[in-house]
Symmetry: C2
Subunit: 123 residues, 2 copies
């Protein structure tokens, strides 16, 4: 049994938006073996293609970790529906983790970023 | 001259979404004096009301720090347009910082969250 992690971002037709997410995902991709970035919509690789590619490589269990700050309609409805359909299509198990923003570590990092920002722009 | 920090989130009609952002902003609100949370749309307090409230309290300079992981259309077009109109309406200076996700600290925090997540859900 092989397991793969999918860092799921919303996606955008703006290449710069995707580049920022690739940067955000960089440390995770480096630290976590068998991890990938995928997009829910508007950009490639899609979640669908990323799962299909994993299945071809022998992966039979995936954990989707949303690179979202909070859960709205996408994470409560759209993504679970996509996941259910992919599980059926490929006969694999796909777990959906809470969005990263629900972990208190993110709030601490935001505080650090804001404090740095203010220090660097003080007149 | 008085200066106020506005942590700007997208906003949602889903109360749970806003509660997650209030949690994310908590450490910053505690650490940074004169900081507030505001929403771009779909939730209160709005950016407009937060600036108006600051102006009433004697604030004449604001820094808007977007609680967004990356800059898309909202941060490239909509928010700058709102800010320009608020600057004119209130005769104040409003600076727009980069989204928090452009700081490498966020990528590190995401890695920490993912590693924790995987450790806690390992079979």
């Amino acid at each position: 049994m092989s397991h793969r992690i999918i860092l799921l971002a919303h996606g955008s037709s703006d290449k710069r938006w995707c580049e920022t997410f690739e940067g955000l995902a960089g440390p995770t991709l480096k630290a976590v073996p068998e991890s990938r970035v995928a997009y829910m919509e508007l950009a490639e690789p899609s979640l669908e293609n990323t799962v299909a590619e994993g299945v071809s490589a022998g992966v039979d269990a995936f954990t989707v970790i949303p690179l979202f700050l909070a859960a709205g309609r996408h994470l409560r409805k759209d993504v679970p529906a996509i996941i259910e359909s992919l599980e059926r299509a490929h006969n694999v198990k796909i777990s959906l983790a809470p969005p990263i923003g629900e972990n208190p570590l993110l709030g601490q990092a935001i505080k650090d970023v804001v404090v740095l920002q203010l220090t660097s722009t003080d007149p």
